[in-house]
């Protein structure tokens, strides 16, 4: 049975489609034939290409990695696929899908399933059901459209505890086309134990962290290295949650004498001078920490559980090791005033963090699955648009108790003016 997995975002150059590559590798290991479309800015793609591909590959199931940003495009392709062959089943997965209200899709007849669980397991369940010709059943891990046109939620099954049980998206696979990619994205872990209220990870991964073994990560790094890729991004939500483990990983990279450049994201309270030294030696050139806000009172409300002192120390220690620092920050946060927002900008300046790349601030986006989205009134978030499509969350169309739409625009303009690179962020 053929399965097609799609990552589309026509606004950014194609990046490693790491989530669907994981899922693809897993399905292949269960005997399914999987292909990936990774469509970014400038990837040649037309209705004609779509038609001829569907005709040639004949997928039975198509899954989309869905984000707020790409859902319009996802639904467009899904619709078109259904018009070519209504028998093809369509699944929405990804950050926008996991917590999307089922009712929102009831009028969109092009969607058959919404993935609510770990993608690998949920999609395998669907694929197996289809292989066994069990259409119209409620598949665990997913919300499923049944004959009456309504969605019914399957039971949640939970993920594999040992991440290594998922086959690597890289090793022994040709799932990822590296020809137009500059950097490989790697995960050494999934999940995060913290509970920041604006973040979707805590609910998506139930505040549990699971790890790949160091051996597996090294195997992937060496494979990628052999492909000629020299830049890596460890995209783990909190890369150094287990510092001893990261220390070992860096040691291994050093031992193999791999000449790679690495950037990663972690929390400011999860590093030490010794670890930073080792990271530097292993090729880490940039660490991005989540600061969010430089106002103590705002931070407290975010449940970030990090102090500005920790932050300052981490920035200083990192810079002293010759590693670049970026700080993720946001404005339009609950309880934040204009003055608070300006404090954040000042914090970057005071700590010699250049305003470029991920250090360009952005307005908080209220996504499905976050605490703020679940109870936005409690957080003083006032949506501006009441009649938007139900599959779109509040995003940044809101004002707060303290910041009007104009204030938010003003803050955005101030940050943009201070930006050294025309406000180009890498990650959202």
């Amino acid at each position: 049975m053929n399965i097609l997995l799609v990552e589309i975002n026509p606004f950014i150059p194609p990046a490693t489609p790491i989530s669907i590559a994981y899922i693809g590798a897993f399905l292949r290991s269960h005997g399914f034939d999987v292909n990936i479309w990774n469509i970014g800015e400038n990837t040649p793609f037309s209705l004609q290409v779509l038609h001829s591909y569907i005709r040639d590959f004949k997928p039975r199931l198509i899954g989309f990695s869905t984000y707020q940003r790409n859902i319009l495009f996802v639904l467009g392709i899904a619709n078109c696929i259904k018009s070519i062959d209504p028998e093809i089943k369509v699944v929405l997965g990804g950050p926008q899908a996991t917590f999307m209200p089922s009712a929102s899709l009831e009028q969109l007849t092009c969607i058959d399933f919404i993935c609510r669980d770990e993608g690998e397991i949920a999609l395998l369940n669907i694929a197996k059901a289809l292989r066994n010709r069990m259409d119209n059943i409620i598949v665990p891990g997913n919300s499923c459209r049944c004959q009456d046109g309504l969605f019914y939620d399957g039971t949640l099954v939970g993920p594999y505890k040992d991440l290594d049980e998922y086959p690597s998206p890289y090793l022994h696979n040709d799932l990822i086309d590296f020809s137009d990619l500059e950097e490989a994205i790697l995960f050494t872990s999934r999940g995060c134990p913290y509970g920041c209220v604006f973040c979707y990870t805590p609910n998506a991964f139930k505040r549990k962290v699971r790890f790949h073994s160091i051996d597996r990560v090294m195997e992937e790094i060496e494979w990628i290295y052999q492909k000629g890729i020299r830049k890596l991004w460890f995209a783990d939500p909190s890369f150094s949650i287990n510092m001893e483990r990261v220390d070992r990983l860096m040691g291994e990279i050093l031992r193999k004498d791999l000449k790679i450049k690495i950037w990663l994201e972690t929390r400011a309270d999860l590093i030490s001078e010794d670890l930073l030294k080792k990271m530097k030696a292993a090729g880490v050139y940039l660490i991005a920490y989540g600061l969010e806000s430089a106002s103590e009172s705002v931070l407290e409300n975010l449940d970030k559980k990090i102090s500005l002192d920790d932050m300052r120390k981490a920035v200083d220690l990192t810079q002293k090791q010759g590693i670049d620092v970026e700080l993720f920050t946001q404005y339009g946060l609950p309880n934040e005033s204009f003055t608070d927002a300006m404090k954040t900008l000042q914090f970057l300046k005071d700590n010699h963090v250049k305003i470029r790349g991920n250090s360009n601030s952005q307005q908080m986006q209220v996504y499905f699955g976050t605490e703020i989205c679940n109870s936005h009134e409690k957080f003083g978030i006032r949506p501006l648009e009441k009649d938007g499509p139900p599959y779109i969350s509040i995003g940044k169309q809101y004002e707060t108790e303290h910041l009007s739409h104009d204030d938010l625009k003003k803050i955005s303009a101030i940050w943009e003016k201070e930006s050294l690179d025309g406000a180009k962020r890498k990650v959202s």
């Binding site: 026509p10 150059p13 037309s46 209705l47 004609q48 319009l72 495009f73 619709n79 499509p389």
Partner: protein, 582 residues
């Protein structure tokens, strides 16, 4: 039907006002929409929008219908026309705005941008002063329709430079000759090549990326002709015809079949960039042009087209006026001269580069290559040493060790040569040359068995065809040194097959036959050797020796005399001649 995705469509609305085929054109035009890329641009060219308004409006409506049906498409519509009277202009664009209104709401509700944008290109007439343009431009800006202006040949660009308010607003300077539509399409086409080159040059991927082909179509309403590259419009080489194709499938097939020659696209890129010079200046985009020149130059180097690569590098250097920050460009320039064997010029570029990037490993390496080219091997070795000491990620260590080894071999320092070749072998370099030179080193050190092993290893390591002659020759030489003349002759015969015109092969083979006392065959070899090089004194002498051995002393005498007339110092020729004539 296979895969087409067209990024840009230029539609020539040239069918006249009462064009009966317009209805047909409309229908056929829409048939091509499925070939459009999901992010594409349609240019609608009209010589007079007051007459063609309804055509542009209808085309827009068709695009809108398509976008409504396929929500994964984004299309920019560029009406291209001379500036009409203000009232007409405002009414027209207000009506366009109404047509695309639902997409602005859709974009807002999806927290994204609109999937259709109207980006007009206004042709400036003789009487259109910058002041006269203020109102229409502001009118468009206020409605989020980013305007550009087009200044025809002969029009003065002075005064317009400051009127564009963002880098998305363009000034097009006319870059072509011919009929009105032809000129405009060519000019827009060159700009789009430039835009593609910008994306190409700024791609984050290191290493070579193919030069982008245009992925453009030109459609002519009047005759239905379809061109798959704007450059084929002037010579009128359509690839298909909207009206003649029997079915949509046939239409698509004919377009798809006629592909682009990528080498043509490279030439076109180079030409387009050169044409853009003044336009870049007026748009303050010269830096962008330099970025492209650099990457294009590198691509030309990769294709070993050093002459044209140099033009790109010189273009950047010429514009900059000074050398500051030009280290990479100067280094690339030096490399081109090196490859063209222009060692003095290469050295000059390297000296300039050094002022910008002192202590650069690459500069030392290139200097080494220059010295190597100038045959100053000792100097070359020193420069390669410097390069290694300075270390650099850019340096290909395998190559540095290889050339260092080669320099040692050239001054007969075989042991050092061998050490370097062993280092070179540790890196990803072509293995055949390394084995060959390891063989040469062992031969030089008279370790003949080992030399044989390496030369044979070179033979099975996919050597370049042009190296086969040398490998077989040296195998022959090894056997000769081992006094295995029969084996030597077999290898030399192979060498002769690979490189018949090499005199030393025939000379060595002649020597081996002589040793085997097969004098007739030896003579044949030496005769061939002097045919190849009539000034080869030694080969005349060798013919003489063989004739003498055969007892044909009379015939031998003129051979020795000929040899000595070319080179009076050949001892054995003097000796044999004296023996014959007493």
């Amino acid at each position: 039907m296979s895969d087409i995705s067209i990024k840009r469509e230029y539609v020539l609305l040239n069918g006249g006002i009462e064009n009966p085929s317009h209805q047909e054109f409309r229908e056929r035009f829409a048939l091509l929409f499925p070939c459009l890329d999901i992010s594409s641009d349609i240019y609608l060219l009209s010589e007079d929008i007051t007459k063609d308004f309804y055509k542009i409006n209808e085309s827009l409506q068709q695009v809108v219908l398509f976008l409504q049906r396929y929500s994964f498409y984004r299309i920019n519509i560029h009406p291209v026309h001379p500036l009409p009277p203000a009232d007409f202009m405002e009414d027209t664009y207000n009506s366009f705005l109404r047509v695309i209104g639902p997409f602005n709401s859709e974009g807002y509700l999806h927290q994204s941008v609109s999937r259709i944008m109207i980006l007009p290109v206004l042709l400036v007439g003789q009487e259109d002063t910058p002041e006269r343009l203020d109102r229409p431009l502001d009118f468009l800006r206020d409605r989020l329709m980013i305007p550009s202006i087009y200044i025809p040949e002969g029009g003065s660009a002075v005064g317009f430079k400051g009127i564009m308010k963002s880098d998305k607003e363009r000034i097009y300077l006319e870059l072509s000759k011919g009929e009105w539509m032809e000129r405009v399409v060519n000019t827009l086409g060159v700009h789009s090549v430039f835009d593609d080159l910008m994306t190409w040059a700024n791609a984050p991927v290191e290493g070579p990326l193919p030069i982008p082909a245009c992925r453009a179509l030109v459609l002519s309403e009047k005759d239905g002709n379809i061109y798959n590259c704007f450059k084929t419009l002037s010579p009128n080489r359509p690839v298909s015809n909207l009206y003649y194709a029997q079915s949509p499938a046939e239409l698509l097939r004919t377009i798809e079949v006629v592909g682009h020659e990528l080498s043509d696209c490279l030439v076109c890129s180079v030409e387009s960039l050169a044409l853009m010079k003044d336009t870049l200046k007026i748009n303050d985009r010269e830096e962008d042009g330099d970025g492209i020149s650099l990457r294009l130059g590198m691509e030309l180097v990769r294709r070993e087209d050093y002459g044209r690569a140099l033009e790109q590098f010189d273009q950047i250097l010429g514009r900059k006026g000074g050398l500051e920050g030009m280290g990479t460009v100067l280094l690339s320039k030096a490399l081109c001269h090196l490859r063209r064997n222009e060692m003095e010029k290469a050295m000059a570029a390297l000296n300039d580069a050094e002022k910008q990037v002192p202590s650069s490993a690459m500069i030392c390496y290139y200097r080494g290559l220059c010295e190597f080219g100038l045959r100053d091997y000792i100097e070359a070795i020193d420069r390669f040493h410097d390069a290694l000491e300075l270390e650099s990620d850019e340096l290909s260590l395998g190559d540095v060790y290889f050339y260092m080894g080669l320099s040692h071999i050239n001054i007969e320092e075989y042991e050092d040569g061998l050490t370097m070749m062993i280092h070179a072998e540790e890196f990803p370099v072509d293995k055949a040359p390394v084995y060959y030179y390891k063989g040469i080193c062992h031969l030089g050190m008279r370790k003949l068995e080992t030399a044989l092993d390496y030369l044979k290893k070179a033979l099975v390591s996919k050597p370049q065809e042009e190296d086969l002659g040398s490998i077989y020759f040296h195998l022959g030489l090894c056997y000769k040194e081992m006094e295995r003349y029969g084996d030597a002759i077999s290898e030399l015969e192979e060498a002769g097959k690979a490189e018949e015109g090499r005199n030393d092969i025939h000379n060595l083979m002649g020597y081996c036959y002589f040793k085997l006392k097969e004098h007739d065959k030896a003579i044949q070899c030496f005769v061939r050797a002097v045919e190849i090089d009539p000034k080869s004194a030694i080969d005349y002498a060798n013919i003489g020796v063989n004739l003498k051995e055969k007892g044909e002393t009379e015939k031998a005498i003129p051979m020795f005399k000929k040899a000595l007339s070319l080179d009076p110092t050949i001892g054995f020729a003097i000796k044999h001649l004296n023996e014959i004539i007493g």
